[in-house]
Subunit: 219 residues, 2 copies
Amino acid sequence: MSISNSKIPEPALRRLPWYLSYVKLLKGRGETYVSSTRIADKIDVSATQIAKDLSYVNISGKTRVGYDIDELIHVLESFLGFTKQHKAVVFGVGSLGAALLSDSGLEQFGLKIIAGFDVDDSVVNESTHTIPVYHSNEFIERNKGIKAEIGILAVPSGVAQTVSNYMVRGGIKAIWNFTPFRVRVSEDVVLQNTSLYAHLAVMFNRLNDSKIQKFKNSK
Amino acid sequence: MSISNSKIPEPALRRLPWYLSYVKLLKGRGETYVSSTRIADKIDVSATQIAKDLSYVNISGKTRVGYDIDELIHVLESFLGFTKQHKAVVFGVGSLGAALLSDSGLEQFGLKIIAGFDVDDSVVNESTHTIPVYHSNEFIERNKGIKAEIGILAVPSGVAQTVSNYMVRGGIKAIWNFTPFRVRVSEDVVLQNTSLYAHLAVMFNRLNDSKIQKFKNSK
């Protein structure tokens, strides 16, 4: 019985890239099979949970030896969407946006950034990036050709909502929001928030807590 | 009674940057007071939850008018650690690492990247970045002067664990892990994972689901 078509819960989905990363490492070392127990040894997740997570993707392990590593990599990359090419545009070519434009590493994971859009004439049409940067005004017309479905949002917070609405009008189906602003989209648009600033805040807070703890312990 | 010293739960902590972002926007529009109901209108969080989250930071609203915006911004930025300067180094100046080195936007949020470290001679000591890049071998010696406590991990997965251990030996107290690899650290080291690839996977998956949904609805 295959349950690969049932909807995978988000926490399980988010763990799959960890397993992928680890089995790719094993492949690099020339290994051919891996068990969920072996993965559990290296990653902070129980073997039972790993086996359950992997039951959502279309793969079955062999008794004793476990999963075929090549097959597992192939199935995971394909399930995660990393083998397809998803076209994306970046809105806001400031420091973060420019950084994302130049991060060619994302392409290996299925994200192909086609163009950047900005309202600032000093970045529009400049040639320092390998990817063209156009004026935001041109987006709706240009996206008829580009056909990007993913819009990366890296504009100032004050215009985040307006730019999101504009992207959706131009055909964007998923917004990857890097701003600290909570944009709202209609139900048929996918919204993924990646707030580097929230992660920073959590890290600073824990760092501070661990210092307080050490101070207390030293007394 | 102040409860500002009680430990804030992580979900609340992660919401604070959203409130900060929104009230800064209001300040830019010349407004002076904001109520939790008003914030709730714009952000997908209930007014009760917002008031509760804000009870962890040292601020109290006034009946009817709400919070003083200037005070709220000041208190939030300080609570979140954005007003302090936290020194950081980046390990791995590949596409993502180089992107982070050039993202000066992080500095506004209290993260000051002092140097990059890499083993690849073609990036070490090159001058295209505004921040110096040294050979990884030099880290322990150089960090005696730099005194960075935060280490940003942007190396290939295969060396993520080794490099983490090395960073900790050189005085790093918090690791911001951008690799898809699950590194392990001892209890006294703070670990913050930011897996762009996991976020990508979730976004691709939802995008796919919403297409299936539309296809079903159209039948």
